[in-house]
């Protein structure tokens, strides 16, 4: 089937493209694009006033299936992804059982094919059961479709283990993704270590618990020449370390979450576990450094670390509640805030949401070039809306942004040439 996106602002930083025009999609590919190349007719979608970009790719989500379907499933998680403009998500392996073998990886792809609203790229575990003791079946998982390896949620504390994982995975080559945290330094912590934690009587997770691990990982990646990807960077020191390593040619990439570049520890509502995530909301200076790092490209990608939890799990004592917040549906407007504030160019924002993730994880998409995968995101940069967790398409509601006035919203998400109007927009104009 053909689809024509008419009169949108075509925006593709990977090709320096920014012009008003049309995109013609045929089956699952982009057929062509240019100013006014298609007439009105069947399959035409009016994109006047909207921005058309390659489909957003989220390098870091938790879909909770298998094992925690009461929090999220592949179906609900990818539906929330599509509503947030994401045409593809990378699913972290900390499910029950952990995705640490080819069967687990194949299961995810099978479920996604049947129930997915967006593409799913599995991330395999680095070690068996993510216990940090023995390497998982990296080659078999790669063959089954894994696009990277991570023990996310748990750092690989054994440096020799990480070194071997970096060496081994460099043969494929896919990145090793590290949740950088020295568990001895962060033990028992539930928010950023600082004056605020001290006052609230909460044990702190120090910035150094992340940066020390980042430093170790950079040294290992440099030594073996493997690709290290640092997940959810949160501290100024981490940004500085990555910037320095990149300048020396170390194969390192990294991501930042919208909540880390939007909020800091002072914004935390006392004892509201919807503000509890790992890494935690850091200090104001860390937040500034993250924005600067995103703007100058030190930080490659924006990833949500979408981490759904049931209401009863979050309605607990702060130190007992699990870490994590949902983020797929708020990523675009929170990113656009930086653009509106003049902290980030639109080109860098779009690059960080689509082109860069595709590039660094070697994924299809991330381009509006003719012949590219017909995964696109069409968003209204001016749409104003209020974040109401009750209306989220995720199964869970754990967001600190409830009640926020947001600007910018996806109108259409197109996955493999299939148009998915944003279900949250009641008045979406019909396809003529």
């Amino acid at each position: 089937m053909n689809l024509i996106l008419k009169n949108g602002r075509l925006f593709d930083p990977s090709r320096g493209l920014d012009q008003i025009g049309d995109v013609v999609l045929q089956d699952d590919r982009i057929r062509g694009l240019g100013p006014d190349i298609a007439a009105a007719g069947p399959g035409v979608v009016d994109c006047t006033g909207l921005i058309v970009t390659p489909g957003f790719i989220d390098l870091h989500v938790h879909l909770r299936e298998p094992g925690f379907e009461y929090k999220e499933t592949i179906e609900t998680g990818t539906r929330a992804a599509a509503a947030g403009g994401f045409t593809a998500v990378c699913a972290m392996p900390n499910t029950q059982p952990v995705n640490d073998n080819a069967g687990g990886t194949a299961f995810l792809l099978l479920r996604a094919r049947e129930f997915g609203h967006a593409r799913l790229y599995p991330i395999g575990a680095i070690t068996e059961g993510s216990r940090g003791e023995r390497l998982a079946a990296l080659g078999a998982m790669r063959q089954a479709g894994a696009v990277g390896f991570s023990d996310d949620g748990r750092p690989v504390m054994n440096a020799q283990m990480l070194r071997r994982a970096l060496e081994y995975s460099s043969m494929f080559p896919v990145p090793v993704i590290e949740h950088a945290e020295d568990l001895h330094l962060s033990a028992g912590g539930s928010m950023h270590a600082g004056p605020r934690a001290l006052q609230l009587g909460l044990r702190g997770i120090s910035s150094t618990s992340e940066a020390a691990m980042v430093a170790r990982d950079l040294l290992l990646a440099e030594e073996v020449g493997g690709h290290i990807h640092i997940a959810h960077l949160s501290t100024a020191a981490s940004v500085r370390l990555v910037r320095e390593a990149k300048s020396r040619g170390v194969l390192v990439t990294c991501e930042v979450t919208p909540h880390h570049f939007t909020l800091c520890d002072e914004d935390l509502v006392p004892y509201d576990a919807n503000f509890k995530m790992n890494p935690p909301l850091r200090g104001a200076a860390d937040r500034e450094a993250l924005i600067a790092g995103l703007a100058d490209g030190t930080i490659d990608a924006i990833a949500t670390d979408h981490a759904p939890h049931a209401a009863h799990e979050k309605l607990q004592e702060f130190d007992k509640a699990p870490f994590g917040i949902i983020g797929l549906e708020t990523a675009l407007p929170l990113s656009l805030r930086l653009v509106t504030e003049g902290r980030l160019s639109l080109a860098r924002m779009v690059d960080a949401l689509t082109c860069a993730p595709a590039r660094i994880f070697h994924l299809p998409g991330g381009s509006l070039a003719p012949g590219a995968l017909a995964d696109l995101t069409v968003f209204d940069p001016a749409a104003e809306w209020t974040c109401d967790p009750a209306l989220s398409l995720s199964k869970s509601r754990n967001t600190p942004f409830a009640g926020w006035q947001l600007t910018g919203r996806p109108v259409y998400t197109i996955v493999g040439g299939r148009l998915i109007p944003n279900p949250a927009l009641a008045a979406t104009p019909p396809v003529s």
């Binding site: 600082g194 004056p195 006052q199 009587g201 909460l202 006392p270 309605l315 607990q316 004592e317 702060f318």
Partner: protein
């Protein structure tokens, strides 16, 4: 319900309310109270072991005519894995007029207060606050000094893990005292200096006690320590124990206070604890008066 309907901490306690509680405790000291809480039922929900605080609330409630219901973490559904809120909802359904909460998690009383329609009183939450302790400490000082403003108060011990230190720090500095915190650096993070202009930090006990009008001694909270903060108890005693010798640096009539439980020979020597300067037992008596004032304010008839 808002902050004024509960007592969750000193941080959000308005000055007039604070003053009222201190004044009311003084009234109770002069004449026995009426049974203004007759017919009321107070739930004492203790998730952490406690002798003095629980008993103190219980005595205070009964002296005002209220009935108390004791629920402790041991021998209850809490043991069976029921969540804090589910436990609270269940007990609330049994006609409860107020809840006193002690919990090892900071902020647990705030969570309870957000989900019930009766007053909640924090009887100590994790490392956060212990507001009735700070109130009774201020009340005790005021039995011996005309005013707290200008007093030099040294707080010595495990500051990091202490909710008593945090609440006292907030209350005493608000009332104009100069507060000196003292302990080994591992138990006294530098961020404590951010609490106020009249707050200072010292790692040297003689320096902290120099010219002090009040010396508050805190216990080493081994139960909240997950790793080593100092080499040994013996080294702690050698460097920080408040002894008669060290107390000479303070004002000759300096008050010696301790929220209890006391570990004699560790944070405080026996002779200091039992000296005429020690008001430790008075603190316990005053605890009942302060808690009566709090209970009357929150559960009593509104004037």
């Amino acid at each position: 319900m808002n902050h004024a309907d509960h007592l969750l901490g000193i941080e959000h306690l308005a000055l007039p309310r604070l003053q009222h509680l201190l004044d009311q405790a003084a009234v109770f000291q002069r004449k026995p109270p009426e049974r203004v809480l007759s017919g009321k039922r107070l739930l004492l929900l203790f998730y952490e072991s406690s002798t003095r605080t629980r008993t103190s609330f219980e005595v205070a409630a009964r002296r005002l005519g209220a009935e108390t219901v004791n629920v402790s973490a041991v021998a209850s559904s809490i043991d069976k894995g029921e969540s804090l809120l589910d436990t609270v909802y269940t007990l609330r359904a049994m006609t409860i007029d107020g809840i006193v909460v002690r919990h090892a998690s900071s902020g647990a009383p705030n969570l309870v207060a957000d989900h019930v329609d009766v007053p909640v009183i924090n009887a100590g939450d994790g490392m956060h606050e212990h507001p009735t302790q700070a109130l009774l400490d201020a009340f005790t000082i005021l039995r011996h000094r005309p005013s707290i403003a200008g007093l030099r108060v040294a707080i010595v011990g495990d500051i990091l893990h202490s909710r008593v230190a945090r609440s006292n720090l907030l209350l005493l500095s608000r009332l104009g005292a100069e507060v000196r915190l003292c302990g080994p650096r591992t138990l006294l993070p530098r961020e404590f200096a951010a609490y106020g202009a009249n707050v200072s930090l010292s790692y040297d006990v003689e320096e902290a006690l120099g010219g002090a009008d009040v010396v508050m001694v805190l216990r080493i909270q081994m139960e909240r320590m997950r790793e080593s903060f100092f080499p040994s108890e013996a080294e702690y005693v050698a460097r920080y124990s408040v002894t008669r010798e060290r107390l000479r640096a303070a004002q000759p009539d300096a008050l010696v206070m301790h929220p209890g439980p006391i570990i004699r020979g560790v944070e405080i020597s026996a002779d200091v604890a039992d000296s005429p300067q020690s008001v430790i037992r008075e603190q316990v008596e005053n605890g009942v008066l302060i808690r009566m004032a709090v209970l009357q304010e929150l559960l009593g008839p509104r004037l």
